[in-house]
């Protein structure tokens, strides 16, 4: 069997019969519909991606502040208790002796 000749014959056969260039009916409409669907999906993806990034940033900030509040040494209590001060101010009038009484 003459393989090089067979190879040449078969390649010549392929050259002689180029594939046809027929296009299915309304193929361009299909492509344009695909592009439109893709654009809509891209729009949704844009927002979804943005929101996920924002959520991730919020979680990171919360983690950082949580870590800071956990690991920073607590401020020494020097008697300035805000809640106690607030209570004293609010009830100051009630604690005062009533001088107007006869």
């Amino acid at each position: 069997m003459n393989l090089p000749e067979l190879q040449n014959k078969l390649i010549a056969a392929a050259r002689l019969k180029p594939p046809d260039d027929r296009v299915p009916y309304a193929f361009e409409k299909r492509i344009m519909a695909q592009l439109a669907a893709r654009a809509a999906a891209d729009h949704r993806m844009f927002w979804a991606r943005g929101l996920w990034r924002a959520a991730a940033a919020c979680v990171a900030v919360a983690v950082v502040f949580g870590a800071v509040s956990l690991f920073l040494p607590a401020t020494p209590d020097n008697g300035n208790d805000l809640s106690q001060d607030f209570e004293n101010t609010l009830l100051a009038s009630a604690d005062l002796p009533d001088n107007s009484a006869p």
Binding site: L3, L6, Q7, K9, L10, R22, F27, E28, I31, Q34
Partner: protein, 191 residues
Amino acid sequence: MEQSEAELIAAVLKGDSASFEPLVVKYSPRVFSTARRYARRESEIEDIVQEVWLKAFGKLKTFRGEAPFEHWLMRLAVRTCYDFLRGHQRNRISSFSEISEPEEDWLEHFVAEPSHAAEDADAAKMLIDRVLEKLSPEARLVIQLLEIEDRSVKEIAEITGWSVPLVKVRAFRARGEMRKILARMTQDKYL
């Protein structure tokens, strides 16, 4: 008034995607013809062409207008076909037992009288399609572009993105691979 190709591309880049449709209409026959060189089933061919157009739309920003749009598009089409071949590699491993009767007749005719076997016979075309299907994706691409489409090594390097020496090496290997397939095919049938 009909817009020129450059105007259509500029309009698409500005956001008017409807301007892409005339380009699809104009070049789809060429893209289909290219895809039919690498895939057999019509559904696969349509998928390839669709992929080419979606890629073309997405990558249109990279088209600089130095070469004709058709060249840029055909490069994209060939690369998409090559990706398709690589994705369907396992389909090519099969025996030659499924050769049809006309193909077998043509081969017998060739064995008996090599110079009289007609190159324009449908059986010869079917046979070469069968042989091409059995080649590796690289070999098939090189044989197709170099031997069948008669392109130069430099052109193939531009289309595929391979270097010129790599194209030459792959062409050498592809011819060897093809000869081995032909030897196996004829051994299966005539030994």
